[in-house]
C-alpha cells in the first residue's frame, strides 16, 4: 500500500497550511507518502492508489453496493500497482501531468487541472494535462469507465502536487533566506515576508532532487481550496469551437491514407472472397485492397473513394452469428432463460404486483465513428486512437499482428464521445491487421452504417419485478433482469478477478462464484428503498452479439422497471408517487435529492389532460440523482411535423438534483447531467435497433433516433447538492438512469397506461431500411438544394 495513511503528525514535516498562511495546526490531519523523483527538474510523484473509504452506517439488510460497489472495486484495483503518477514543474512555470485515463468529452482534463492547480497554488491555465499513452506497468489501473476517474485519482493527484509544492517551498527558503513556515505561495509564486517573490519556473531546477526520495505530506483542507468546487470552463473549449481540436482522423500521420471496410450484410458475417478485385483496384483513387477477418478493406486517396469502392465490391460472404434471428426470437430466448421469483405465495391479505418489461438493443456509438490510425512494420507498430483501456489494446494489437507488447506504441487521442463504446479497441485492432496486410500506414474509419449494424450495442434485456405489500408496508421487492450477454472483455473482468479477494468478507461471499456480468450487476445495482426483502439478480444468455455498456451498464433499464413498479405500488396504496417514495427511501442523500426536485419542480401541480409529471431517483457512483419531468403527450404534440423527423411525446420541463459527493467542477457536472438526461430521454422514448432476419436495420442517424433538438425540453434545471463530504463521486453516467425512469413514469401517467416495452416507439419501424448489399449508402449529391 502506497499513499499510506500514517499515524505521524504532519506538523513536524512541512505544514502546508501554515506555509500558505491559512492557519491550522495540522494536528490530526492525515498525511500521505509520496516521492520526489531524481532528475534535473522537479518531479513529484505518488502511487495511483485508493483514498480510504468512508465508513457507511450499515442498515439491517444491506445490498452489496452499500458495502462495496463498482467504484470501490475499480479503486481497489489500483492497490497492487507499484507504478507512479507524477507532476513535473517546468522551467517556464507550468506544471505538467499525464493522466492515465481517456478524455472522451467528460471533462476530466479540465477537472484534473483544477485539482492540481488548487494543491499547487498555480493558475489553472498553467497546468497542462495530457493523456498518457499505454503504460503497461499501470496494469488495470488505466481504464476509463464506470465514472471512476475522479473517484480513484483525486487523492493521488493531490499528494503528488502537494509534494511538488513543498519541494518548491524548500528551494525558495534557501533562495529567499526565510524559513519555509514564513513563506506563502499563490499564483505560481513563492512570497517572502518582505514581499520578494520568486516564480515556480525559476525554482523548478533548484527544487529538483539528484535522487529519488520518499517524503510525507499533508493535503490542503477544504476551506483552503480556491479552485475545486467553483465553476470552471473546459480547457479545450477554444480548440473545439475553432476546429483546432484534433481527433484521431484529424491527425497528420505520414502515408496513413483513408481506409474503410466492406462488411457483411448479416451481423458478424465474414468474407470468403472478393470476386471483382481487379475492377476495384482500378477504381479512381484506390491504392490497396485486402481481405481481413471482418471484411474487405480498401485504402484510397479519399474516404469518398473508399465508399465508392465498397459499393462496387462483389463479395461472397460466410454466414453471420445470428442468421435468421429477429427481435422476437431473441426475446423468446430471454424469456426461456428467465429465473423464477422466490416469493411464490403471498400472505393471505397481501397484495402482489407483477410487472414485466422488455428493452430493445441500442447502439452505443458516438458521433465520431470507430476509427484508428495504425502503422504496423516488421518489428514495431504505432497506433493512434481514442482508447479507454489502452493497455489491453496494446496487448490485443500485439497479439493480432504477432509482435511483443513492448513493440507496440499506443497513443491515446481525445475521442469524439465514448459512452462505453471506446472501452473496446475494435477499430485499433482492425486497423493494425489491415496495416500489416497492406504493409502501409492506414487511417481506418468505420462508415456510419457499420456502427448500428456491426458495432457494439447495449444488449436486449427483460426486467421483471414482483412486489408484495401488506397494508401500508412493502414486504418484498424482487427484480430479475435477463439479458443478452454483455461483453466485458475490455478489462473490467480482469479487474474483478484480481480484486475480488480484497473486498470485505461478506461481499466476497456474496460475489463468489458469480460471472463477470453478474458480479458487476451485483456491484452496481442498489434499490434505495426499504422494501423488506429486496433481491436484484441478473441472468445472461446468448453471446452472439457485439455488446458493451452504454453510458451505464445495467442501471437505466433496471431503474425504469423499478421506478415504474414503485408508481404502481403507490397507486395501489392510494399514495402520491412522491409521498410514497419519501416514506420508503433509505438514505438521507437520496432523500435530499428527491425533496429538492419536488420543491423546485413544483411536484403535484395540476396538469391538463395528456400531460403529466414523473419523478424518479437513482443511487450509484457514490452519490444519488433525482429527476422530475413534465411530459406532453397530446396528439397535436406527438404528431407535430418536422421534416424527416421522429417527433413523438415532448418532455417540456426537467428538474434534476445530483449529489456527486465533493464536486470538483460544478459547471462540468451540470453538463454531464444535461447530457445524461438526453440519453435517458432517448432510451425511454426513441432510440433502438431492430433485428430482422439476422441483420440490424438501422444504418444512420435518420434511422437511429438519438435525441434531437426537436425532442429537447425547453427548460432543464440542474441542482447540485452539497452533502458535505470530501469524496468525489462519479458524474459521467449518473444522470442517465433516473432520467430514463422519470420520463417513463411521466409517460405512463400521461397516457394512463404503463408501457411494457422500451423505447416506446420500438414497435413501429418508421423508416425504410438502407441497402445491405452494398453495406453502405450512396453519398447524396443534392446537398446544394438544402442550403439555408
Amino acid at each position: 500500500m502506497s499513499i499510506a495513511e500514517t499515524a505521524t503528525d504532519a506538523g513536524n514535516m512541512h505544514n502546508p497550511s501554515s506555509a500558505a498562511g491559512s492557519g491550522g495546526s495540522g494536528l490530526g490531519r492525515r498525511s500521505f507518502l509520496g516521492y520526489v523523483i531524481g532528475g534535473t527538474t522537479l518531479v513529484a510523484a505518488a502511487e495511483l492508489a485508493a483514498p480510504a473509504r468512508s465508513e457507511a452506517v450499515i442498515p439491517s439488510l444491506p445490498q452489496v453496493p452499500e458495502l462495496y460497489d463498482l467504484e470501490d472495486l475499480q479503486t481497489d484495483a489500483a492497490l497492487p500497482t507499484s507504478a507512479l503518477i507524477s507532476v513535473t514543474i517546468n522551467s517556464d512555470g507550468t506544471a505538467s501531468f499525464a493522466i492515465p485515463r481517456a478524455e472522451v468529452g467528460q471533462g476530466i482534463t479540465t477537472s484534473t487541472a483544477m485539482i492540481l492547480a488548487d494543491e499547487l497554488d498555480l493558475p489553472v491555465s498553467k497546468v497542462k494535462v495530457t493523456l498518457a499513452p499505454a503504460r503497461p506497468e499501470l496494469m488495470f489501473n488505466q481504464l476509463t469507465g464506470g465514472s471512476n476517474t475522479t473517484v480513484s485519482t483525486y487523492t493521488p493527484i493531490r499528494v503528488a502536487a502537494a509534494i511538488a509544492r513543498n519541494a518548491l517551498l524548500d528551494a525558495a527558503a534557501i533562495e529567499l533566506g526565510y524559513a519555509v513556515a514564513r513563506l506563502r505561495t499563490y499564483e505560481g509564486l513563492v512570497e517572502a515576508p518582505d514581499g520578494t517573490t520568486i516564480g515556480y519556473g525559476e525554482l523548478a531546477q533548484k527544487a529538483a532532487s539528484p535522487d529519488t526520495k520518499q517524503v510525507e505530506v499533508a493535503l490542503k483542507e477544504a476551506k483552503d481550496r480556491k479552485v475545486v468546487g467553483r465553476p470552471h470552463n473546459r480547457d479545450d473549449a477554444l480548440a473545439a469551437v475553432t476546429g483546432q481540436k484534433d481527433f484521431s482522423m484529424d491527425l497528420d500521420v505520414k502515408g496513413a491514407l483513408p481506409t474503410m471496410v466492406c462488411r457483411a450484410p448479416t451481423l458478424n458475417g465474414t468474407p470468403r472472397r472478393l470476386k471483382n478485385r481487379k475492377k476495384i483496384k482500378r477504381m479512381p483513387g484506390v491504392k490497396d485492397v485486402v481481405k481481413v477477418d471482418t471484411g474487405i478493406a480498401v485504402r484510397a486517396r479519399t474516404f469518398g473513394q473508399c465508399i465508392d469502392a465498397i459499393r462496387e465490391m462483389k463479395v461472397v460472404w460466410n454466414k453471420g452469428s445470428a442468421e435468421g434471428e429477429s427481435d422476437q426470437t431473441i426475446l423468446a430466448g430471454l424469456r426461456r432463460a428467465e429465473l423464477p421469483m422466490v416469493v411464490p405465495n403471498v400472505p393471505i391479505l397481501a397484495e402482489q404486483i407483477d410487472a414485466d418489461f422488455a428493452f430493445a438493443f441500442r447502439s452505443s456509438a458516438a458521433l465520431e465513428p470507430n476509427c484508428a490510425i495504425a502503422d504496423v512494420r516488421e518489428d514495431s507498430a504505432e497506433i493512434w486512437a481514442g482508447l479507454k483501456v489502452p493497455i489491453l489494446a496494446q496487448q490485443n494489437i500485439a497479439q493480432a499482428v504477432g509482435l511483443r507488447q513492448d513493440q507496440v506504441k499506443v497513443n491515446v487521442i481525445t475521442s469524439g464521445g465514448s459512452f462505453g463504446h471506446k472501452l473496446f479497441s475494435d477499430a485499433a485492432i482492425e486497423a493494425a491487421k489491415i496495416s500489416q496486410k497492406m504493409k502501409k500506414p492506414v487511417r481506418l474509419m468505420w462508415h456510419r452504417a457499420d456502427e448500428p449494424r456491426q458495432g457494439r450495442l447495449h444488449p436486449m434485456c427483460t426486467s421483471r419485478v414482483r412486489a408484495t405489500m401488506l397494508g401500508n408496508e412493502v414486504l418484498s421487492f424482487e427484480q430479475r433482469n435477463t439479458s443478452v450477454v454483455t461483453d466485458f472483455s475490455h478489462g473490467l473482468g480482469e479487474i474483478i478477478t484480481s480484486t475480488i479477494d480484497e473486498a470485505p468478507t461478506d461481499v466476497g461471499k456474496a460475489l463468489g462464484g458469480l460471472g463477470f456480468s453478474e458480479t458487476i450487476f451485483t456491484l452496481t445495482q442498489e434499490l434505495p428503498y426499504n422494501f423488506g426483502a429486496v433481491t436484484q439478480l441478473l441472468n445472461e444468455t446468448d453471446d452472439r452479439f457485439n455488446t458493451g455498456s452504454m453510458r451505464n451498464i445495467y442501471s437505466p433499464d433496471t431503474a425504469v422497471a423499478s421506478e415504474l413498479v414503485i408508481d404502481m405500488m403507490a397507486k395501489k396504496m392510494k399514495m402520491d408517487p412522491l409521498e410514497f417514495r419519501l416514506k420508503f427511501i433509505k438514505d438521507d442523500r437520496t432523500r435530499a435529492c428527491l425533496e429538492k426536485v419536488a420543491k423546485e419542480g413544483n411536484w403535484g401541480r395540476r396538469m391538463p389532460a395528456h400531460r403529466a409529471q414523473g419523478i424518479a431517483v437513482h443511487k450509484e457512483y457514490k452519490g444519488a440523482t433525482a429527476v422530475l419531468v413534465e411530459i406532453d403527450t397530446r396528439p397535436s404534440t406527438v404528431n407535430r411535423k418536422i421534416r424527416n423527423a421522429v417527433t413523438g411525446p415532448r418532455v417540456t420541463k426537467v428538474v434534476m438534483a445530483v449529489d456527486a459527493g465533493l464536486v470538483i467542477n460544478p459547471r462540468g457536472l451540470e453538463a454531464q447531467m444535461q447530457g445524461g438526461f438526453m440519453d435517458g430521454l432517448a432510451l425511454t422514448l426513441t432510440s433502438s435497433c431492430h433485428l430482422r432476419n439476422g441483420k440490424f436495420l438501422e444504418a444512420s442517424w435518420d434511422n437511429y433516433f438519438y435525441t434531437r433538438q426537436w425532442n429537447v425540453p425547453r427548460k432543464i434545471d440542474v441542482h447540485i447538492m452539497d452533502p458535505g463530504v470530501d469524496q468525489p463521486g462519479g458524474a459521467g453516467e449518473a444522470g442517465v438512469p433516473a432520467s430514463a425512469a422519470a420520463v417513463a413514469c411521466a409517460y405512463a401517467r400521461a397516457v394512463g397506461k404503463v408501457p411494457t416495452a422500451f423505447p416506446i416507439n420500438h414497435g413501429e419501424i418508421s423508416f425504410k431500411p438502407k441497402t445491405f448489399v452494398p453495406p453502405v449508402p450512396k453519398s447524396p449529391t443534392n446537398g446544394l438544394k438544402f442550403t439555408y
Binding site: 472522451v104 468529452g105 467528460q106 479545450d236 473549449a237 477554444l238 473545439a240 469551437v241 475553432t242 476546429g243 483546432q244 481540436k245 484534433d246 483513408p258 479512381p284 486517396r301 479519399t302 469518398g304 473513394q305 465508392d308 458516438a366 458521433l367 465520431e368 465513428p369 481525445t414 475521442s415 469524439g416 464521445g417 465514448s418 459512452f419 474509419m445 462508415h447 456510419r448 453538463a671 444535461q674 447530457g675 445524461g676 438526461f677 438526453m678 444512420s700 442517424w701 435518420d702 438519438y706 435525441t707 434531437r708 433538438q709 426537436w710 429537447v712 425540453p713 432543464i716 453502405v776 449508402p777 453519398s779 447524396p780 449529391t781 446537398g783 446544394l784 438544402f786 442550403t787 439555408y788
Partner: protein
Amino acid sequence: MPKQTFILNGKPVTVNVNDDVRVLWVLRDLLGVTGPKYGCGINVCKACTSHINGKAFNPCSVKVGDLKKKDRVTTIEGLPDTVGKKLHPMQQAWIDRDVPQCGYCQPGQIMAAVATVKKVRREGRQLRESDLDEIRNICRCGTYARIREAVEEGARNMR
C-alpha cells in the same frame, strides 16, 4: 485528372481530383482542413456543416465538380475572418456557455447556428424556439440545452 477550383476561407484553391468526389473529402483528405467532421456522409448528422456563399451546406453531399470558381466555401476555420475578428460572436458564445463536451459536433453546430440566425434575419424576424427545435445537428454528448442558450447569446452579438 480534372482541376477543381473554388474559394476556401477567402483564398482560391485548386485541387486535382475527379468531379464526383464529395467536397467533405476534398477538404479533409486532400486539403487538410479538418474542422468539418464526418458523422454520416449522407446529410443527416450535420457534423460537416460549413457555408457556401454565406449559407449553410453539407459538403458530404455535394460533388466538388458542382462547385464554381467563384463559390466561396467557408469552414469553421474561416468563420472568424468573416467578421474580421479572432472569434466569431457565435464561437465566443459557445465558449461563454461552455458548450462543448467531446467537441466533435461543435464546428458543425456553430456553422449551423450562424446560418440559422442569418436566415431568420433575412426573413426579417427574431429567433424563435421553433427555429432552435429545427436545428438538425446531432450532438451525441447531449449538449443541446447549452447549444440553445449559446445560439441566443451569439445571435444577440451578431451584427
